[in-house]
Amino acid sequence: MDFLAELLIAALIVFGGVFGLVGSYGLAKLPDLMTRLHGPTKATTLGVGSVLMASMVFILWDKGTLSVHELLVTIFLLLTAPITANFIAKSFLHRQANPETDLPPTGTECGWASFDVPPDSDDDEPNSLTIPRRNKG
């Protein structure tokens, strides 16, 4: 039983370490911000969640008490990662001097959100202004 618990804890820590490293490597390596967002928001969050699970199993095995704090931190990180990613992407998109030419390609026919209309939409105008609002005063 001890061996199994140690194996589980060690495996979770190694799993988390590999994913954390992959996420940070992606942040340093990928070419532009929209692709760079993928590393931290997905891989690093999964890695930290795995380390927190390892800590939970460790406390359960070592002290015999179930600790819920880690679960709280994990849920909080999983909830906030997409929100921060969306905020960073929005601030990146709207800080371009010339959104027509400066933004990286989307890889699809449609342009970036809030600059272009989705193909199957009924609206004929984007949701927000094409000109970033900071230019208006």
Partner: protein
């Protein structure tokens, strides 16, 4: 076995922090730097938790929770600031 796994985990997240620091210094846009700072907070939480496992204590969980909250709030505040020039309008 846990000791070696902890060594591995510590080195992974430490190298990750260095890579984030590289992105923080290089930029090129402000959004890149905010993203790098956010990732540094997340890696810091991981290192804090690993340190708690290494010491066998539970006192670092509250610190980790505070780190997570402050990191999220600061990232959102920074993004709003560079987007709108104001945090609470």
């Amino acid at each position: 076995m846990i000791t070696y796994a902890l060594f591995f985990g510590f080195s992974c997240f430490a190298v990750g922090l260095l890579l984030n620091l590289f992105r923080l210094a290089k930029g090129p846009t402000v959004a890149d730097r905010v993203l790098a700072l956010d990732t540094m907070v997340i890696n810091g939480i991981a290192i804090l938790i690993l340190y708690g496992i290494a010491k066998g204590t539970t006192v670092y969980f509250e610190a980790a929770l505070l780190f997570a909250m402050v990191g999220f709030i600061s990232t959102v505040a920074y993004c709003r600031f560079i987007l709108r020039g104001d945090i609470i309008e």
